[in-house]
Symmetry: C2
Amino acid sequence: MELLMVFKALSNETRINMLIWLKQPHLHFPAEELEDYDANLGVCVSDITQKAGLSPSTTSDYLSILQKCGLIEATRVGQWTYYKRNEGAIKTLNKLIQKAF
Amino acid sequence: MELLMVFKALSNETRINMLIWLKQPHLHFPAEELEDYDANLGVCVSDITQKAGLSPSTTSDYLSILQKCGLIEATRVGQWTYYKRNEGAIKTLNKLIQKAF
DNA sequence: CAAACATATCGATATTTCCCGAAATCCAGA
DNA sequence: TCTGGATTTCGGGAAATATCGATATGTTTG
């Protein structure tokens, strides 16, 4: 959990929003996938792409940036990749920020 | 207090450090200015420039970035500009992050 | 007022980030 | 195994950021 890397990841509006959207998937993504949300599987890339209004490649790139610094994690199920928040890491980050600043 | 602006400001190692250094000036800056620290005046640009190891212009620029998003504030005294943390804003930020993420 | 400083602003270049489309990879089903 | 859909990776042009030196501005003092 590198503070600098986290801040770089969050220095982009879409990536900030992704983290916020993933907090309440049923509020921001199609209701069809409700079972996935309830099972805490996460949200698949296509739904996030749709919501973000960016190309699939950019979306995938952004998700990977958030993942590399630990804020979200991926689960591959068949041809889909589901992303969800890493709540532990986010809690750690909050404490780290509190301590550092 | 714009989250995006704050994260942009903090997506640079030197600027992160500036905020940390300013938390304990007597620990990171010349002892000669101890009275200024105790009076909570802040630290002047030349001392920060020295510590950062960057050119005066870059240092001034960085301080201005931190100031524009509210994390620090400036006091002009004669020919010197003293910068110190805006503790209220930093506390607000912590809460905002806690709430948003 | 002129010289000497401290700081800020400007102009320029090097590096990084944004974001896309094309191509590659992976997986499911006919 | 061929086709098609989901995702990732790659290559690149446009935009933003990093960082400097030169210049400008404001301040103090002889």
